[in-house]
């Protein structure tokens, strides 16, 4: 019986030991992981306040690391999708915790500016904008354009769809019945720009609504996000996916059978940086420095190397990555940011009620 007790006790101790060991191991690893994406300049920057960056762009953490290495300012990176970041920001309305936001879509920043949340009248000085870039800068300089993408490129399989549409209005034709898929603008921010652009193209909101209703009658399929839409393309549920062009290009790069087209009219979707107007002074200073870095040649180089299809650059002297067709050759349109920004809530609601769930 004593032997039995011995065994029991030994087993119990062993069990505890394993549990404790596992816990300790993970704790040790965990502590390194939580600081892993911080920069190497961490130890030197004991007195510098970290800059909190909310980024939806794939430029981070690459640009951030380079920035920290150059300036010694550590960056606290929160890297999620645009929708998630905006939800966070809005939920933090009573006590904002972010410093700098880098996303696709000026409309969102315009809306933030309407709520007086952004730093105004700041423009980086380290680089010169092209004429297109200059057009994108708002009057009160509340956000900073950094590149442009296109909302509303189509990705398709030529074998399945030999005649892709050259104009979005062609989507109503019977040959495309049930073959078109797009994202839900209520969930995917850049998709709203596409919807807004299309409505602008057909003449306004009422005409846009009737267009989309007809499109829905023609078998339009709406999915939650880029990922689901592109998966549907792979699964064969749709023959063409309307997505943001950088996603489309990366996708086509991976699956060579696919091609990317830009029907008339594709809407310009600028990626922008905006700064929290209520952030503590030290962070504002650092944020400005960050924006300056992005505009500088060094910053633009890093952007291109880290995320070549992130968008067409808008700085003078910069060339786009090879796979991007020249912007001037594409049927692009610009839409009035402030106006359409203000309509986002009602349009997406209408869309969700009538097109997605109807």
């Amino acid at each position: 019986m004593t032997l039995q007790r011995h065994r029991t006790r030994r087993r119990f101790v062993a069990l505890l030991g394993v549990a404790a060991g596992a816990g300790a191991l993970l704790a040790a690893c965990g502590s390194t992981s939580s600081s892993s994406s911080s920069t190497g300049a961490n130890t030197a920057a004991t007195k510098t306040v970290p800059l909190v960056v909310y980024s939806a762009k794939n430029y981070m953490p690459g640009v951030g690391t380079a920035f920290s290495n150059k300036t010694g300012i550590p960056i606290d990176l929160v890297n999620h999708s645009t929708g998630t970041l905006l939800t966070r920001i809005q939920a933090q309305a009573s006590d904002p915790q972010w410093g700098l936001l880098w996303i696709d879509g000026a409309a969102a920043c315009a809306a933030l500016d309407d709520q007086h949340m952004l730093l105004r009248n700041f423009e980086p000085t380290t680089g010169k904008l092209t004429s297109l870039g200059k057009e994108l800068v708002p009057a009160d300089k509340s956000y900073i354009p950094t590149a442009v993408t296109i909302a509303g490129a189509i990705v398709y399989n030529p074998k399945v769809l030999p005649n892709p549409p050259t104009n979005f209005e062609q989507l109503l034709e019977p040959q495309y019945k049930g073959k078109v898929g797009m994202n839900n603008p209520a969930i995917s921010g850049p998709t709203y720009t596409f919807v807004a652009g299309l409505m602008h193209q057909v003449g306004g909101i009422p005409q846009g609504e009737s267009f989309f209703k007809k499109l829905a009658a023609n078998g339009l399929q709406v999915f939650s996000t880029n990922k689901v839409t592109l998966t549907a393309l792979l699964q064969g549920r749709i023959a063409m996916a309307i997505v943001q062009n950088n996603a489309g290009i990366e996708f086509a790069e991976k699956y060579p059978q696919l091609k990317v087209e830009y029907p008339k009219e594709s809407t310009l979707l600028p990626s922008v940086i905006c700064i929290d107007g209520k952030a503590p002074k030290a962070q504002v200073v650092e944020a400005k420095e960050f924006a300056n870095y992005v505009y500088s040649a060094a910053g633009q180089r890093v952007m291109k190397s880290v995320n070549p299809y992130g968008g067409w650059p808008i700085m003078q002297g910069e060339t786009p990555a090879p796979l991007l067709p020249p912007l001037s050759s594409l049927p692009v349109q610009k839409i009035a940011t402030r106006y359409w920004g203000g309509q986002e809530a009602s349009v997406t609601q209408w869309f969700s009620t009538n097109i997605v769930n109807g």
Binding site: M1, T2, R5
Partner: protein, 404 residues
């Protein structure tokens, strides 16, 4: 510092443990006063007061629903009384604003369904109870082994409860209760779940082991034979009230209420009308004749009132020719003296008991059970029964129906 804390520990209200963890034997007695327990509108225990002297074996007897289990649980500290106080060893353990938890009451309990921990061996189960004694591990193991030996299970100490029979499990539970030598032992119908043959053996063992240790014991059961066999004192409970607290002999001879009488065994009952009342004898006119019996204290009977004659098993037997000749046949009028009376009846059942036969005899007014005889008297035979008035009790009609 240490000194004060030691003193404090021994004087602390309700904590009976002393410095070295061994209980003080002279104080191990139980005193309950006005104990009441309510569950919502229902009163399970109603103003029960009793005391148990050190070393005494008290049995609480009563049918289901009489509150005996609740009472025991209050003494154990598992349930808190709604009113009343409990003193253990002279110290207050339950009272207004005071409640000593079970683990500090220096007692042990044996449960009806054994309550052994299924994930521990028999030996581990027993050793568990020793942890409060601050012993060396070897000592603990030895003590547990001894305890198991005393209950006859030394060969099964490394078995798990699932591998033991019901009787064996209860023995382990008994060993567990005894091993730490607490001053007070509580038994919650420990034999109810066992087979008949095991029951008697274990009952004897319980009696022997408890006496050997000199512990005070409170034992609850609904079985009167168990109660009579084990108890120094019996407390009979009826619907939450303690109706009688006395030695077994007294309870048998002089039950305080008709309920006690019925619960502790009757041959049968015969209804009738009261004819004559004297201090220690009542004459009742029954369909079987005029019969005499002893009244219950506190139950008033008047001439002409309806009554029941409660007949103890020991008060009835078959009459042989001689006895019948000497005894008087119960007249139907006039008076009857104390002593023996003869009534007529018809046997309707005979059961073989090994030593002889027990018969059920139908008499005018009722049936009498358990009438013994060495030879079998077949059903249908007419018989004469001798009734002894000192073993018959008279109660008002409709008094104290059993709660069962």
């Amino acid at each position: 510092m240490t000194h004060i804390s030691a003193v404090e520990r021994s004087v602390e209200a309700g904590d009976l443990r002393k410095e070295d963890g061994v209980p003080d034997g002279t104080k191990a007695q139980v005193a309950a006063a006005g104990l009441t327990k309510r569950f919502g509108p229902v009163v399970a225990v109603d103003e029960v007061s009793l005391t148990v002297a050190p070393g005494e074996f008290l049995v609480l007897l009563g049918p289901s629903g009489s509150g005996k289990s609740t009472l025991l649980r209050m003494i154990a500290g598992i349930d808190r009384p709604s009113a009343g106080t409990i003193h253990l060893g002279g110290a207050l353990v339950d009272g207004p604003g005071v409640h000593t938890p079970p683990e500090r009451r220096e007692l042990a309990m044996v449960f009806q369904d054994y309550a052994l921990w299924p994930h521990m061996t028999a030996a581990q189960n027993v050793q568990f109870a020793l942890r409060r004694r601050r012993m060396e591990r070897r000592e603990r193991e030895r003590a547990a082994r001894d305890a198991l030996e005393r209950v006859g299970l030394s060969s099964k100490e490394s078995r798990y409860p699932g591998e033991l029979s019901g009787g064996e499990q209860q023995r382990v539970a008994l060993a567990r209760a005894l091993v730490a030598q607490p001053g007070l032992l509580l038994f919650d119908e420990p034999l109810s779940n066992l087979d008949a043959d095991r029951r008697e053996q274990l009952r004897v063992d319980i009696a022997a082991l408890v006496r050997e240790q000199g512990a005070t014991a409170i034992y609850i059961t609904h079985d009167q034979f168990e109660a009579f066999a084990l108890a120094d004192k019996i407390g009979v409970l009826d619907r939450g009230r303690l109706v009688q607290l006395a030695t077994p002999e007294e309870i048998f001879r002089a039950p305080a209420t008709p309920f006690v009488a019925r619960f502790t065994g009757l041959a049968g009952e015969i209804p009738g009308v009261v004819e004559e009342v004297t201090k220690d004898r009542v004459t009742v006119s029954t369909p079987a004749g005029l019969l005499a019996g002893t009244p219950f204290p506190g139950f008033e009977l008047r001439r002409g009132a309806k009554a029941q004659l409660l007949i103890r098993p020991s008060a009835v037997r078959f009459g042989d020719e001689e006895q019948v000749a000497h005894a008087r046949v119960a007249p139907f009028a006039g008076s009857v003296a104390a002593g023996e009376t003869v009534i007529q009846g018809e046997v309707i059942d005979a059961a073989f008991r090994g030593w002889g036969y027990e018969h059920v005899v139908s008499v005018p007014g009722g049936r009498l059970h358990g009438v013994p005889a060495a030879r079998r008297i077949g059903p249908g035979a007419r018989a004469r029964l001798v009734l002894v008035s000192s073993g018959s009790l008279v109660a008002p009609a409709g008094s104290g129906e059993t709660s069962a």
